[in-house]
Symmetry: C2
Subunit: 336 residues, 2 copies
């Protein structure tokens, strides 16, 4: 290794921290943040979810993007905390809307504390996210709030579209990609962008990191849908077919409804009203005969490749992109 690769300003390669390392640092700081003691029920509900784990991917991405440009700023930890709080706020409210019984292996907040307290716990978590944002250096406050607000609105819009699509017979493929992008990808994208803003990145670098996150998020969702249908149960950790049993409109289902024969589409629609144990098998058979598995792997690769192209375009030395690249690879290596 030459000296030039070891030095980047005052930092050397080792200064760029891995996901595991940053995750640990974030976790330590994040756990120190306390909600008030009273009303106990309300803040027990917020703590209940926040201490239940979670991979902290979004806040760590914010920190990684920040470190691409310089040493991590204190402000980046505040924004990272706000991102994680926002994410948890959406989980609480989404779980209410979806009547979900479990989250992170435990009863959801509304099951444990009742719907009203869960609703308020989500609200207060969003407000506390803004409290964290308001701690940053005032020179960054307006641009960071602009990104945060625009993103938060999009996430709500994505959830609304998701609920509407579940009730629709036909969903256009592009509309579906847009919904997934709003519901899950834009927060990843914005986490990276906000980290970059605090690192002093210019508009071009911000945009490429945003697009990297957005496309990576879509690739991840395609993979998630694929694994739920075709994943190796031993590696995936759960029985495949959950989405099929729940009649969830996934990338796979939409594609099959687009590319299947009249007969296959009719069968898929009939199977929506079937709860037999053979349901998963029958749907998978149709998927396979339409080559949906191959198509999904290709689709994932397509989005992943676009993501990587954008990361490539970020104007910092490639050694400074290594950790983000490794994280992206790690996220994409789940048995596909």
């Amino acid at each position: 290794m030459s000296i030039s690769t070891l030095t980047e300003g005052n930092q050397n390669k080792n200064d760029l921290q891995s996901f595991a390392a940053l995750s640990k640092v974030f976790e330590e700081k994040f756990n120190k943040r306390k909600f008030p003691e009273q009303p106990a029920q309300l803040y027990d509900a917020t703590q209940y979810l926040l201490t239940a784990g979670g991979k902290r991917i979004r806040p760590v991405m914010c920190l990684m993007a920040n470190e691409m440009f310089d040493k991590i700023k204190e402000d980046a930890y505040e924004v990272a905390a706000a991102i994680e709080l926002f994410h948890n706020f959406t989980l609480i409210h989404d779980d209410i809307m979806d009547h979900a019984p479990l989250r992170r292996g435990r009863p959801t907040v509304h099951i444990k504390f009742g719907e009203s307290t869960a609703l308020l716990a989500g609200d207060v978590m969003l407000i506390v996210a803004y409290e964290n944002l308001n701690k940053i250096n005032v020179e960054y406050l307006q641009p960071i709030l602009n990104i945060f607000n625009a993103t938060s609105k999009k996430v709500c819009e994505g959830q609304q579209l998701d609920m509407e699509f579940e009730k629709q017979d036909v969903v256009n493929f592009e509309e579906y990609v847009n919904m997934i992008s709003l519901k899950t990808s834009v927060l990843l994208a914005a986490s990276l962008q906000m980290g970059a803003v605090l690192g002093g990145a210019g508009a071009g670098n911000q945009k490429h990191l945003y697009e990297f996150g957005k496309n990576l998020g879509i690739a991840f969702q395609v993979q998630d849908d694929y694994l739920d249908a075709f994943g190796n149960p031993e590696k995936f950790g759960k029985k495949p077919g959950g989405d099929i049993m729940a009649n969830k409109k996934t990338f796979l289902w939409l594609k099959a409804m687009e590319s299947g024969t009249v007969q296959q589409k009719k069968k898929l629609n009939e199977l929506l009203f079937c709860d037999d144990s053979s349901k998963v098998e029958e749907v998978l058979e149709i998927y396979k005969s339409c080559n949906i598995d191959e198509w999904a792997r290709d689709l994932k690769k397509k989005y992943y490749s676009v993501a990587m192209d954008h990361l490539e375009e970020v104007a910092v030395r490639s050694v400074r992109k290594e950790q983000l690249k490794q994280l992206a690879d790690f996220l994409m290596e789940r048995d596909v």
Copy 2:
């Protein structure tokens, strides 16, 4: 009228606008603010409530406090809009929690659009409130956000306490005043304070306006409870006894449970399980024999008087307090 009362800097007395005038100006500006078009369901839900009227007391109080110190700033309209959006966000979520069927004479948002869309409409309204705040001059952004965030948290805490108190057999009077203050008064108080901040007011003037709003809010709530029990139906516009039929813990009920005889308290507790039409009459009889009506009128006067003392302390010429005084009198003149 002497020349000196006509001039205050470059303004004369007529420059200070009445509630009606400011309400009209606010309404015109507020109505121009558009939410996005899509997803239509989500933003129809937000518009549905925002266009259903409402007295706009909080945003106008913000404008009035701003005008006490100088001509109204553009920033004050942004903050006033954020306050009104926040208030409407709380109405949507509170109505879900309270299973309320009607609001402003129309079906509530969750009845009209379903609970999930209502929940999201509330969320997105809170986010748009922050979008409005982020439009103000950056020099005021951090102090305004500090007040807004702290207040928003308190309002959530007040709603949580309100729900908990409804389930409790015994509620301490001071705890109840604290809950009412959090749930309804602090937003009035903060609206005034934020208007003052944007008008360049110092800490002392901010504090006195805050306390004016907080005490006025509590006086207003006492009056509301009083009118629901003892109000003249013709002037009050609705049949008295709604709170009694709904077993709502009000100032009156708490006081009766504190000062009544053992026999009276027993009877009040028994009446909680009664749905007869005689219920209102029987409760009112106990209230009257405990002099709760007189006590409530005195309590209201006490808070109103504290409020007025704080307004008196605001260090601007008294002519500049006239409009706020008139608004307070108007709010307090509802048949008590």
